[in-house]
């Protein structure tokens, strides 16, 4: 890298992704958005934008499922709590949604486990493909990092999305489920050896790898996966008496800091 990079890119946007010829046409990854992609469901367009790939009908169903299956309109869940506060305190929809979405790049759910699990399955599958032992690899991962992304869950010991996801996947005709099957095998190992249950991040990330996403691309795809749960929380809180979403009395804030003192 050097100053030359700056000179080369001044007043220049070189892209293969697209361009809007305003008043005329729009190109989206080499195709005319309104002529060639008009029939593509939005979620497939979104996935196409990220990967440059078109997906089969069953793959597209799966892409839709992993978003729908994690859309919980429950205001007690942290991102939705933000949506509800935003509604109750009368902020705009875009601010409510963007703040809620941003909170999903989290360590204990969302972004980090999804991307981390995706990376783990890629590495683990490569290890197994070279005749490595899966159980040894899993336990080494746990020993090194103290966690295996996609296994264990805060607030609950099991994940209701697991059986639904397995059932859904098994009904589909998919080119491969090698990462998915691996994720289940890892689940059995961690259940037996460490009493750790799978959470949905494991299966969702494995699905992403089977669909040909890179870990980062899949992280990008899943960034909106909780959003359908957020908007109902925002709107209902907005419809209720303003400023009344879970009010907090002064004495519900438990202070444990230093005593009173003069400045």
């Amino acid at each position: 890298m050097s100053q030359a990079d700056l000179f080369q890119n001044e007043d220049k946007i070189i892209t293969k992704m697209g361009r809007s010829f305003l008043g005329e046409r729009v190109v989206y990854r080499g195709e005319d958005l309104h002529h060639q992609l008009a029939d593509l469901p939005w979620i497939e367009l979104y996935a196409f934008g990220i990967t440059g790939k078109k997906f089969t009908t069953d793959q597209a169903k799966l892409l839709n499922f992993i978003w729908a299956a994690t859309s919980y309109p429950d205001k007690s869940i942290w991102p939705n709590h933000i949506s509800a506060l935003a509604g109750s305190f009368k902020t705009s929809p875009a601010l409510a949604m963007s703040a809620s979405i941003a909170s999903c790049d989290a360590e204990i759910f969302g972004g980090k486990p999804l991307r981390g699990a995706a990376d783990f399955f890629v590495r683990a599958l490569a290890h197994v493909d070279q005749d490595g032992d899966l159980e040894e690899y899993v336990l080494e991962e746990l020993k090194t990092h103290r966690t295996v992304f996609g296994y264990g869950r805060p607030l609950a010991s099991s994940d209701e999305r697991i059986p639904h996801t397995i059932k859904f996947v098994r009904q589909l005709d998919l080119p491969t489920t090698k990462h998915f099957d691996l994720a289940i095998s890892v689940g059995k190992i961690l259940k037996k050896r460490k009493r750790l249950n799978m959470n949905a991040a494991s299966l969702f990330s494995a699905i992403g790898m089977d669909l040909g996403f890179s870990p980062k691309a899949f992280h990008t795809y899943m960034t909106l996966c909780f959003v359908a749960g957020m908007s109902p929380c925002y709107l209902e809180a907005d419809e209720q008496v303003e400023g009344t979403f879970l009010p907090v009395r002064c004495d519900r804030l438990k202070y444990a800091g230093v005593g009173k003192r003069d400045w």
């Binding site: 890298m1 050097s2 100053q3 990079d5 700056l6 007043d11 220049k12 946007i13 070189i14 892209t15 293969k16 697209g18 361009r19 305003l22 005329e24 046409r25 190109v27 990854r29 080499g30 195709e31 005319d32 002529h35 060639q36 902020t91 705009s92 875009a94 601010l95 963007s98 703040a99 941003a102 790049d105 972004g111 980090k112 991307r115 981390g116 995706a118 990376d119 783990f120 590495r123 090194t144 990092h145 870990p215 980062k216 992280h219 907090v248 009395r249 002064c250 004495d251 519900r252 804030l253 438990k254 202070y255 444990a256 800091g257 230093v258 005593g259 009173k260 003192r261 003069d262 400045w263």
Partner: protein, 278 residues
Amino acid sequence: MKEAPSFESNIWLDEPQDDDPFTAKASYCHGYDVFAQLIQKASFSDYILMLFTGSRPSREQSKLFETLAVAMANLGPRDAAVRASMNAAVGGAPAASSLIAALAVGAGQTGGARETYFLSQCFQKFGTDQQLWIKQLLKPNSNRLREDIWDEFEHSPGFRPHGVSCAKTLQQLLKALNNCGDFSTVKWLSDQRETLEQEINAPMGHTFVSAAVFFDLGLDPHQAEMCGLLLSLPGAAVHALEAKQQGWRKFPFFGQSVELTDDPGVIAPLPIVEELNS
């Protein structure tokens, strides 16, 4: 009956009004009465620093923090985070949209708060051991064992990958910070700047200076990252307001700068509305 959830804090205490449990009659921050004392006695920068550290700063600490805060308050409209805030504002979006835009871009690993976080971690690990620093800066991803939401560094953190020489403004800042008192990390960074730049083959950037200041002030990496984001917001705010006031016609638009490398050309004409409605 199960106890209702409550928040726990080592920072804040609210005492309720006699007639209203939801309204505070007194608020204490780290034990200091905010409305009886702090609003009259504490400067804004002392208060901000105390929020992070938990105690009243010394005169020298206060001066050091304030010097950095002034330097970081506005990085000017060419700064990527400030540009993001202006792009949000020029279309007429709410004020918060501008600040969110500035925070999102300014949070990154290229001259942003994540870089400050990384460097703060390094100060915790290496102190002022130059050889350890150089080894880490030349291979910043060497400790990365698995994927994260953050990508690998593409340059040596704390240095400007496209820079030619150390900015005069950065040198002025380092000099001013050194004049604030006896702060060993800031002094080390000033003394070693040229050596480090030669080893890394790039000029130092402001995140390294910020990280050094935050370390001397006792902030941990998480606090340093957060504080760095906060301190850079005023410039994002005022330039957003300026862009909004000037309007979109005056704001640079780069539509003609786009070079599309994968263009299918005109596939078909636009539908003719008159025919569709006839």
